[in-house]
């Protein structure tokens, strides 16, 4: 057992680092900057540790914890996106005086929770990871505690999320009751036989997971929380937990529920279609960019779920490619928001963007690239994400799903175009401060260049993702 501890090395390293920087934070005053930089360093080191760990499948602790290429890929994706979220939002945090030393530490704790989620091979470990992550997110949502909206969003998220966690836990206990095991592999074996009760359990677990990735009809919290939370936290919400949530969803479909795919496919198809349509229609009326991005993220999860709904490996792969490009697009979109500063205040309304193409041409063109990419117009990265998903969907001959999904992209193109219209066609109203926010600019630059050059070698991601399901 002790010999195998190196399998847990990333988690152990992360845990010890969190404890140490927590101590630093407690004993050194005004240590936000130090802790912030240390956290970035820790994330970087963890990435290096994971990159150096072998990719063969290893299961420890009575096979409740797996380390394989699948979990490693997601851990790296989670870490990289967290690194970008943290650093691009640094100036925002300083401006908004969110400089509590707990801020980066809680983010690290939530990352730790996600690590256990994506690595779990056991319901109990999975649930513990999920709760560790969720608890950190509640705190993060309300981190601007003097701000009414932020506190409100924290409470809202807490109440609803606790409810969904309850449902999920109920599902887990049902699953244990009907199969007699908490281990994914054993559950899968048990579900090979006739087992109606387990189908109930599966529904409850799906509900819980759909809540975590904010899929319709469990999306109600998303717009409010996105709007209320500080932008730096919103960008974290929009990206990282979704990656982890999708990873877990795929894992559940891949291992424990693989034998009852007929049952869950119907549900996921429904959730996917509902998310795509709601994400497209509800965003049209939004005036706040963060709310709009919330609805757009609901729609995007719908597309990723369309890949999952196929129930085959190629579909899961396309969903993973989709979520990775989604991460790039959203990081870029939120980084743009950090530059919309006027007299020390951050603007969040679409109307504030009016005519920025004249005074801020580079920012405008970045918005253009990111928004067209979100709309899925070729030759930008977002198109390929959709292309891979729909290729997998059509391969399974789910034509209705493909056509509805693509029609939803046309509807959603409307509101992305509306923002572009505000930026390019309208007369300029505000000119924003020329802030020297190098970090946000860098992350916009990286995101745009990935989206713009993705067409040169579109299979770069799928080549990596292909290897995840080899074992």
């Amino acid at each position: 057992m002790i010999n195998n501890l190196n399998i847990l090395l990333p988690e152990i390293f992360l845990t010890l680092s969190i404890f140490s920087i927590l101590m630093i934070g407690v004993f050194i005053k005004n240590s936000f900057n130090l802790i912030f930089n240390l956290s970035s360093l820790i994330i970087l080191l963890t990435i290096i540790i994971i990159l150096n760990s072998p990719n063969n499948v290893e299961k420890i602790f009575l096979e409740s914890f797996t380390r394989d290429s699948f979990s490693n890929f997601f851990k790296i994706l989670i870490l990289i996106s967290s690194l970008f979220v943290l650093n691009s939002s640094k100036n925002y945090i300083l401006d908004k005086k969110l400089t509590k030393f707990e801020y980066p530490i809680i983010i690290l704790i939530s990352i730790l929770g996600m690590f256990f989620m994506v690595s779990s091979n056991d319901i109990i470990l999975f649930y513990l990871g999920l709760e560790l992550q969720s608890l950190s997110l509640y705190i993060l949502a309300s981190i601007d505690r003097d701000n009414l909206k932020s506190s409100e969003s924290g409470i809202k998220y807490f109440v609803l999320s606790a409810l969904s966690s309850g449902l999920l836990l109920y599902g887990c206990s049902l699953l244990y009751g009907f199969t007699g095991s908490t281990n994914f592999d054993l559950i899968a074996n048990e579900l090979g036989k006739e087992n109606t009760g387990a189908v109930f359990a599966m529904v409850f677990i799906l509900v819980g997971l759909a809540f975590k990735v904010s899929a319709v009809p469990f999306h109600m919290w998303t717009p409010d929380v996105y709007e209320g939370a500080p932008t730096s936290i919103t960008s974290y919400f929009a990206v990282v937990p979704k990656v982890a949530g999708l990873a877990v969803l795929i894992k559940f479909m891949l291992i424990p529920f693989s034998k009852i795919s007929m049952e869950w496919q119907t549900i996921i198809i429904f959730i996917s279609i509902a998310s795509m349509i709601l994400g497209a229609v509800a965003a049209i009326g939004q005036k706040n960019i963060k709310r709009l991005l919330a609805y757009s993220s609901i729609g995007h999860i719908g597309y990723a779920l369309a890949g999952v709904a196929t129930g085959v490996i190629s579909g899961y792969e396309s969903a993973i490619v989709y979520i990775s490009i989604y991460v790039v697009m959203n990081l870029g979109a939120f980084s743009c928001l950090y530059l919309l500063k006027k007299d020390g205040e951050y603007k969040e309304n679409i109307s504030d963007l009016s005519g920025i193409s004249k005074k801020h041409p580079i920012l405008a063109i970045s918005f253009l690239v990111i928004l067209f990419s979100l709309a899925g117009i070729p030759p930008l990265g977002g198109f390929f994400a959709k292309f891979f998903v729909f290729a997998a969907v059509v391969e399974q001959q789910m034509y209705a799903l493909a056509i509805i999904g693509l029609l939803a992209t046309v509807i959603s193109a409307f509101y992305y175009l509306k923002i572009i219209k505000t930026i390019y066609f309208d007369d300029s109203v505000i000119s924003f401060d020329n802030t020297k926010n190098k970090l946000a600019q860098l992350s916009i630059f990286i995101s745009c260049s990935i989206l713009l050059t993705f067409f040169l070698y579109p299979s770069v991601l799928s080549n990596v993702v292909d290897t995840l399901f080899l074992n």
Partner: protein, 495 residues
């Protein structure tokens, strides 16, 4: 051919637009105009070279380029035949003309405008070069982005509405094509057009796939009843935008029918011929009548474009040599004529800022050179023998008579209507009494306008008298297209 000449053609404008982007900081627009003019002319010369050096006694695709792109899935494949080279040359010809036209008409954000035009040229040439469905879709759709911005940023008062309408209509049509493309991949195992030609898609799939492609091409052509975006887009777009829209973007759909619908789904094409005939006839007659009623010059020309594109679709689906050659010829000639007519409107619009017919009248007394050119293009537009407009319509009608008398007669009626609205337009704008005093102070066409319109006028008349270079290029490719179609239909009738 080792040198990737088609890729050079495609990406040369894109690279030069990058240069303009870098030189954005300068106050003076001259360098940007020179860069874009130089690169678009270089593209044009290169395209002429390709035209000259290709072998049009062979129906095979030439200048093939192949590169693995998405692993085991899609190849980046380019190649041209006798049909596509004409469209490439047309694109490469129209783009420098647009760039010259924007010297006079675009005052605001010139560099951005040039960047948009050059990027659009890249996508347009890409459409005509691609031999892979996904690459085709990529270029086809990507063209929406620059065109959306051209209409929206530099357009007229209702530009936002028009830009949205243009974008959403086209996108809605195209997404169904995307589903069809993916479906073709799973049916045949490839998206390589030349391979699909040989594999032959099973009959049971053809109708649905054809409809999906049709939904995209019908919007782009545009066919009645989904043509409504076109008048709006034309009216609001700046001159250069209208020119590109009319001269090239509309041709993508006709080209799409020839390259994809006909050879890939021959049985479905035969099955749906009555549908196309009906829609084309409605387009020819109805939109000609609508054009008669217009008070806005650009709108009138826009509706006439719909009518002319009706001949194109009619000709393609006759499956006769005359019909198809006539369609291609009609597309090229309409590309020249409609571009010239929009430029003519642009010339007076730059001076008086009005597109209304009622503003003008009696121009012939004050702008003699302009009036001469306008009349040349108007006559070409109504299909006067001796201009390129005549030959296309004539061939299409000849082809149609072989298939269906009634349709051909109705279509011939459209020619009369075409003469009616064009002549009436000329009468009201060029001749008549000058009521507007401002007209008396107008300057005649200047040097750059003379160059653009002169080139087009020479070409329109030249191809009217001597269409051989175009026909020779087309000949073998069209023969091959019809042979393949007829074999497919025969095999089916034997079963």
């Amino acid at each position: 051919m080792d040198f990737p000449i088609l890729s050079t053609l495609i990406f040369l404008p894109l690279v030069s637009s990058l240069f303009i982007f870098i030189s954005r900081g300068q106050k003076n627009n001259n360098s940007a105009i020179y860069i874009s003019l130089f690169s678009s002319l270089a593209t044009f010369i290169l395209s002429l070279f390709v035209w000259y050096s290709m072998d049009y006694t062979s129906a095979d695709f030439q200048f093939l380029e192949e590169q693995s792109w998405i692993n085991d899935f899609i190849k980046f494949k380019l190649g041209i035949d006798g049909i596509s080279i004409l469209f490439i040359v047309l694109t490469a010809l129209i783009t420098p003309i647009c760039i010259i036209s924007c010297i006079n008409s675009v005052k605001d954000r010139v560099k951005e405008f040039l960047i948009a035009i050059l990027i659009l040229e890249t996508f347009m040439i890409g459409v005509f070069c691609s031999l892979d469905l996904v690459i085709f879709y990529l270029f086809f759709e990507a063209g929406l982005i620059p065109m959306f911005l051209i209409i929206g940023v530099w357009g007229g008062p209702r530009r936002v509405y028009s830009a949205f309408k243009f974008f959403l209509f086209t996108l809605l049509g195209s997404v169904l094509m995307l589903v069809a493309i993916i479906a073709i991949y799973w049916i045949t195992g490839t998206t390589d057009v030349t391979q699909i030609y040989e594999i032959k898609i099973p009959k049971e799939y053809q109708n649905l796939l054809w409809l999906a492609f049709f939904s995209s091409f019908a919007v782009k052509t545009p066919m009645w009843p989904v043509h409504t975006w076109l008048p709006d887009a034309h009216v609001e777009a700046p001159t250069a935008g209208s020119v590109i829209l009319a001269a090239i973007l509309l041709k993508m759909a006709g080209y799409g029918f020839l390259r994809f619908s006909l050879p890939m789904f021959p049985l479905a094409s035969e099955f749906f011929t009555p549908l196309i005939f009906t829609l084309s006839i409605i387009a020819i007659i109805y939109t000609s009548l609508v054009a008669l009623m217009q008070e806005d010059m650009k709108k009138l020309i826009a509706y006439s474009s719909v009518a002319h594109m009706g001949y194109v679709t009619l000709g393609i689906f006759t499956f006769t040599k005359q019909g198809i050659e006539g369609s291609v010829f009609q597309m090229i000639s309409h590309g020249l004529i409609s571009a010239a007519l929009f430029l003519c409107v642009g010339v007076v619009y730059d001076r008086l800022h009005s597109r209304m017919i009622s503003t003008y009248g009696g121009l012939v007394n004050y702008l003699p050179k302009y009036s001469f050119l306008f009349i040349v293009f108007a006559l070409a537009g109504l299909g006067l023998p001796g201009t390129s407009g005549f030959l296309g319509e004539f061939l299409v009608l000849t082809g149609t008579f072989q298939k269906n008398y009634l349709v051909a007669m109705l279509a011939t009626f459209g020619v009369v209507l075409g003469a009616a609205y064009m002549l009436w337009l000329t009468k009201r704008v060029i001749f008549g009494v000058t009521k507007n005093d401002q007209i008396k102070n107008l300057k005649d066409v200047n040097k750059s306008e003379m160059i653009m319109l002169g080139i087009l006028a020479v070409l329109v008349i030249f191809f009217g008298f001597y269409p051989v270079p175009l026909m020779e290029t087309l000949n073998v490719s069209v023969d091959n297209l019809i042979n393949n179609y007829e074999t497919a239909v025969q095999i089916e009738s034997l079963n």
